[in-house]
Subunit: 388 residues, 2 copies
């Protein structure tokens, strides 16, 4: 085989690979979180996201999802269409770029994340049944406005009450305080998180006791980690800096919990109170339950660090009061967990168990630092709560 | 004065007029419904709306509000800025056009109207205090999922319960069923409508008795009126066609009301039940209460037609059962109300009063067929309800 033939062969092979990479399975269906009556965006069985937008005078339109931008193609009517590479199962934030303007897709529903209201899409997951809307008894989600003495302002929270809460007027319920992540807000868990549907379904299957979930806004000016920490190294000093979670901690302990205990039929003691959160909300859960283990009995951290044996030594009462420490991560983030003062979450959790605490460690298959990991985290965590 | 001088004078006069028309008062402030931390869109004391968006590669960007498009201007950094003519007080839907793509403004909160989730803006109204968020006792708004036998599907509604509902467990409450307009949905009244805040404030002032508000989705395939009706003439045949509201009527009577009476501490009789709606929701209120006057006692129609003396003759029981017919319009739409089988709403309502019914007719000052008219309508209507 001479050089010319070799080059030809290489060209053929390379073309085949490229063709294989870009071949798209044409079984796209509208996303389940489209606006009413909208055909696009669509998702196919590979998890590719296809969007479409009319922009006759535009010269460049892109789909921006999972930190990658994909060029769309314009047809003769000025309608742009294009798709992404296959995405992980579950929910993803995304946006469009139209001639340099970053805008929401006008066809999708909107969700708060990345510090903005913007587009979201669902890539159907094999286990989506656990957060599906079914004809089972449903609880409800209530929007509460309340005055916070701590922040001297009106605040908002959402409260899930389980099925039966409205009619069993003599029954009192335990409470889970459940926090969102950085750049998200109090709407996340009952919107893209489906916390209400997860609990409705678990309760219908007899897998979880009914409890109340309170979702407040934990947004806090979180300082950026030092550059070396962003690259995965342990920062030199304590990180996050001492006191970073005090604002939300004070609001939670002094305003939210007393308000909930006065307005809802709770069992207002620590044995019937849990706290959990995702990412930043997990980090807040860690700080707040270590500082006040007398207030809670169950602790959950989804992609948000872990509790170390060292932490126990610095928090008198934590080991005796806390009945469960639940730690979870997405499988695709667990090999490189976010930097923090907690070290390796899996090893930490194992050491905590060896130190005599009841711990659970859960890994969500094939997911990153996104909502599918956290939905699954809650789904694993909830059945473990408030078992006498 | 020769021709040259005349032309110069005309030019000067014309320039002055143009200058006067386009002079903008520079006291813009961020809209109250911006996304957190966003400076734009802004509104000035004239009611002009100023938007800003970065679109470095775009050649044409427009603000589209109240059915008028305004060109924006690009600066050296590719940031486009521009403003509208003065807008009426209150809430307006709007969108941006970027090189032919109609998109939501990425800086505003989003609202469902015009059959889409899109941008909204508040032009501060002189009477905005009646729907302001204040440190008064607050009710809450709950999101309910329920199965509808009528539509054989899961449906969603929102329910406002007044302050005290959670703690006065022996008290039962009357209910207002309150409907949105065409192209809107069950989120409208508790979002841009501020029904919850209007009631919280009225109750705090002692001006309204506490009651429950149920907001469901009344979207119905409403046929377009014939061309002559769109031009203000009375359509030849019955309009809207017989049966157009049956779908929602059946859901309301057979699914929603029984569900609410079973899950909430209502007074489940007609004397403690009201129905009202805006635009299409008012037209549905008319059809449903005329067909089933035994179910309700109070009727409200905001920019959605009226009840005629002829209607009374066709609806045995309406005159005896209904304690109040409340009709309202925006002042800027009342001279040309939407076509329908009800004729002139003001004259109709006067004739209804003369026929012996308790009626109220309210006109919202300086507003069109928009939310400020309907907020004011509810604010006038609520204090008249459920007075024994």
């Amino acid at each position: 085989m001479n050089l010319k033939h070799k080059l030809l062969l290489v060209t053929i092979l390379f073309s085949s690979i490229c063709f294989a990479q870009t071949k798209v399975v044409e079984d796209f269906k509208p996303s389940s979180v489209n606006q009413p009556g909208k055909e696009y965006p669509m998702v196919n069985s590979e998890g590719r996201v296809r969007v479409q937008i009319s922009a006759p005078e535009a010269t460049k339109v892109q789909l921006d999802i999972s930190a990658v931008k994909y060029d769309l193609t314009k047809d003769e009517n000025g309608v742009w269409t294009g798709e992404s590479a296959p995405q992980d199962e579950g929910f993803h934030y995304y946006q469009l770029w139209v001639d340099g303007a970053a805008v929401p897709d006008p066809n999708s529903l909107y969700f708060y994340g990345a510090s903005r209201w913007g587009s979201g899409i669902e890539v159907p997951a094999k286990d989506q049944d656990f957060y599906a809307l079914k004809d089972v008894p449903h609880g409800k989600v209530s929007r509460h406005m309340y005055y916070s003495e701590t922040s001297k302002s009106m605040r908002r929270c959402f409260v899930y009450t389980p099925p039966g809460y409205e009619t069993d007027l003599n029954k009192r319920y335990p409470v889970l305080y459940l926090q969102h992540g950085g750049g998200e807000d109090e709407t996340g868990w009952s919107s893209q998180g489906h916390a209400d549907l997860i609990l409705d379904n678990l309760i219908a299957e007899g897998k979880s006791v009914p409890f109340i979930i309170v979702m407040d806004n934990g947004t806090w000016a979180m300082p950026r980690p030092p550059r070396n920490a962003q690259q995965g190294e342990r920062p030199a000093g304590p990180w996050p800096p001492e006191g970073w979670a005090d604002g939300f901690m004070n609001t939670l302990l002094n305003d939210v919990i007393p308000m909930i205990d006065s307005k809802y039929r709770t069992v207002p003691d620590s044995e019937h109170r849990a706290m959990a959160g995702l990412s930043m909300g997990g980090m807040q859960t860690r700080v707040i339950t270590l500082a006040h283990p007398e207030v809670f009995s169950y602790v959950g951290m989804f992609s948000g660090g872990s509790i170390s044996v060292e932490d126990l030594q610095n928090s008198p009462g934590f080991k005796d009061n806390i009945k469960l420490v639940f730690i979870s991560y997405g499988s695709r983030e667990i090999e490189n967990p976010r930097p923090g003062p907690w070290g390796d979450p899996k090893a930490n959790t194992q050491l905590l168990k060896e130190a005599g605490m009841n711990t659970h460690f859960y890994v969500s298959p094939l997911t990153v630092h996104e909502w599918q990991s956290w939905r699954r985290g809650l789904h694993e965590f909830a059945p473990l709560l408030f078992r006498e």
